[in-house]
Amino acid sequence: MIQVIDYKAGNLTSVVKALRYLGAEAHVTQSPGDVRGASKIVLPGVGHFRATQLLHDLQLTQATREAIARGVPFLGICVGLQWLYEGSTEAESTDGLCHYGGRCERFPATHDGADLKSPHVGWNSLEDIRADSRLLRGIAPGSFVYYTHSWRAPVDADTAATTHYGGPFTAAVERDNVMGVQFHPEKSGETGLNLLRNFVQI
């Protein structure tokens, strides 16, 4: 059973719908027990980073750590990816999971001397796809995915793909069983469904 964590950050309907469309059994939960017993975990979420405070308050952070430690595949989407890092300048007092190093920062107001609109909304391309990524298996560089966000995660060795907007940022992160995507696979047409299928089949 894929446990989809509900922490009251936006709309889960689309993610659950996409997982079920792919034939997966998806269950929406706020229970640490469900998360500990999950075969896979999905942490969706759009909106403000401070919403992730509820994960700490409901003891879901510890449950997630334990599940990850025994190898349960985890997929964070949008704010769900950002939560894997140490935190975000969007909500300084709310810690992330600290699974990956670095903090999420806002897009700069300008880039290369030109104004940069924020939020970054729309279809942008995946670049620098890491050949060993299980999540991105079969997805070609240049494939388009749908974004809507104002904060982004830094690029480092665990980055599985980048997207360029005001410079490169982490489009996907992956190390062993812990994965995240900044874009919305449930809203990214065939490319997004292929990625979710990869996750379901891991």
């Binding site: 009251k8 936006g10 909106g47 403000h48 279809w123 391309s125 469904l193």
Partner: protein, 257 residues
């Protein structure tokens, strides 16, 4: 590279897709769910469903139509029409919409923008503005006026000022419809679109007047639009989004192909 979005718009009345010329002369164009899927397969980057009669006839949004349309749609899906409260918006999200578009209700009570955003995120709130140039004013663009109730009622609000206020109150995007251009297929109002786009940081979706690929290239270039909406141009098989975007790519517009 971030691409310019082509958004297929379904104007719905009584559960059927219709498209009027300047908001009158309604013609039946089909089933919303079927058309939404056809548009998605034909390369639309996003789908907007507007219940065009909801406000003045006082009907609620057609939740069943939204559910049916959203069921197997895996691109962004916006619903507008008749959303007057955060509860109305919640019902539409529950039915499968990713964003809501609010228009007259945001003007009647601007707090609504922030109330929906607080629960669902700013990215989920589109403020739609029906705009008409003010032909009598010395500067028809700066004095362009906001209309409500499907273009029936002038509000006295200036378009650019209202767009700025909507942004400050937490709108994620602006959907700007030129009432002058709507349904004419003679091109978008590029000047008005550019004025709004330069006044705000959030994306601006241009609407009204699409007739051919050059019109889209113009509104993305001169009009500085981030996205553009089209309805009747597609419904009757004039072209589809892939064909439109292939033409745009040749003109140097970044698009998803």
């Amino acid at each position: 590279m971030l691409t310019k979005r082509i958004i297929a718009c379904l104007d719905v009345r009584g559960g059927r897709v219709v498209k009027g010329i300047q908001f009158v002369d309604i013609v039946d164009a089909g089933d919303p769910a079927e058309l939404a899927h056809r548009h998605a397969a034909a390369g639309a980057d996003e789908i907007v469903l507007l219940d065009i009669t909801a406000t003045h006839e006082g009907r609620g949004t057609l939740i069943d139509t939204v559910k049916r349309t959203a069921a197997e749609l895996f691109i962004p899906f916006t619903v507008g029409g008749g959303i007057r409260s955060a509860e109305d918006a919640a019902a539409v999200f529950e039915a499968g919409a990713d964003k809501v578009s609010i228009n007259s209700s945001a003007i009647a009570r601007p707090e609504l923008i922030g109330e929906i955003g607080a629960n669902f995120g700013a990215q989920a709130v589109i403020v739609a503005i029906d705009a008409r140039r003010n032909a009598e004013a010395p500067d028809p663009i700066a004095d362009a006026e906001v209309y409500v109730s499907g273009g029936r009622k002038p509000t006295g609000l200036r378009v650019v000022e209202w767009a700025r206020e909507a942004e400050q109150r937490g709108a994620g995007e602006i959907l700007l419809t030129s009432m002058d251009a709507d349904g004419t297929r003679a091109g978008f109002d590029d000047e008005l679109t550019a004025a709004v786009s330069q006044a705000v940081q959030i994306p601006v979706i241009a609407s009204g007047g699409a007739g051919n690929a050059q019109h889209f290239a113009d509104v993305f270039g001169r009009g500085k639009a981030d996205a553009a909406l089209a309805a009747s141009i597609f419904h009757f098989g004039v072209t589809d989004s892939w064909a439109l975007k292939r033409e745009l790519a040749i003109s140097g517009v970044p698009v998803r192909l």
